[in-house]
């Protein structure tokens, strides 16, 4: 990672051109060729600094509902429960946290009913206590980009 790579990352985090030759446009901004932009991006993606390049959609605008859930999972059931939870395409984030509610995950689905259905399926399959379902009632801030040198959570 050199200074040009850093500028490139900053540039494509929020200023990705919506045009026919986006990489050529980025190259013009940075004073490098389209080929060099593509070559550098391939290397940066390879290194894992960039997870994905594309669109982030607002789930509500697509008609989806989302929520944050927490489960109390005893150690002996943890591995199996995580496997069950992660098997859902609807679960995008799942973390172990230092609390009695030790497994925290987000669920995004076409309806509230489907979310309730998924949670019921997980409880039954994992044999765990009722999962708490905490859909946001007010959004104060959703910042996708943190100030750039550096660097989530679901809703």
């Amino acid at each position: 990672m050199d200074a040009t790579d850093n500028r490139l990352i900053t540039e494509i985090q929020s200023g990705f051109p919506v045009s026919e030759r986006p990489y050529a446009e980025i190259g013009e901004r940075l004073g490098i060729s389209e080929d060099e932009v593509l070559e550098r991006l391939r290397a940066i993606k390879q290194s894992g600094e960039i997870r994905r390049m594309g669109a982030s959609f607002d789930s509500r605008k697509l008609g989806y509902s989302s929520t944050l859930c927490a489960a109390r999972v005893p150690p002996e059931k943890l591995e199996a429960t995580v496997k069950i939870i992660n098997s859902y395409i609807n679960v995008t984030h799942n973390y172990e946290r230092d609390h009695e509610y030790n497994v925290w995950f987000t669920v995004i689905a076409p309806s509230r009913e489907r979310i309730a259905g998924i949670l019921g399926e997980i409880e039954a399959a994992a044999g765990i206590d009722p999962i708490i379902n905490l859909p946001a009632t007010r959004l104060f801030k959703i910042q996708v980009d943190l100030p750039v040198i550096d660097g989530g959570g679901g809703r």
């Binding site: 919506v18 982030s56 607002d58 008609g63 172990e96 946290r97 230092d98 660097g151």
Partner: protein
């Protein structure tokens, strides 16, 4: 607000939420896959960006790799009538990336959530202490993630 999407629009969503091609004309490739012209694709991307359907278009970076070492989920038990004002104050902090009000639940008395980012767990604690003093709420706790089990972008219209 949500509206219905045509089959072609749903296919375009599926293409755009995947990794866009690292080739000179990525939108032309997407257009070919969806059966639209490149102008139509560019027009849709602009329209969806303007109306907020697309929240962001660009690269998603790995936060931990690029420097934020710690993040804490702070949870606050705030009297309901103060929740809005306190939520706005927490959200205004530069170290807070996400802030929501949520219902309380069995064994979970906290109704405000703020994700705090810092260089270390200690720094997250300092930020939370500072915010606690500002909002005058002492009943809060920080939950650090001890393991990441899953972190992916949502794939819509796949079921």
């Amino acid at each position: 607000m949500s509206r219905s999407f045509s089959k072609q629009e749903m296919e375009l969503v599926r293409q755009l939420q995947a990794d866009i091609p690292l080739s000179p004309e990525p939108f032309a490739e997407i257009a070919a896959a969806v059966g639209m012209t490149v102008e139509e694709v560019l027009g849709k991307v602009r329209e969806w960006t303007a109306d907020g359907t697309i929240r962001r278009f660009g690269a998603m970076v790995r936060h931990q790799k690029l420097g934020y070492k710690a993040n804490a989920m702070s949870a606050w038990d705030v009297p309901d009538e103060r929740a809005e004002a306190v939520g706005e104050t927490l959200a205004a902090a530069a170290e807070v990336s996400h802030c929501y009000q949520r219902p309380r639940a069995d064994g979970w008395p906290y109704n405000l959530f703020a994700m705090i980012h810092g260089a270390s767990p200690e720094e997250c604690h300092r930020v939370a202490d500072r915010l606690a003093a500002v909002v005058g709420i002492s009943d809060y706790r920080l939950l650090f993630s001890t393991r990441e089990f899953k972190k992916v972008s949502m794939s819509y219209f796949m079921e």
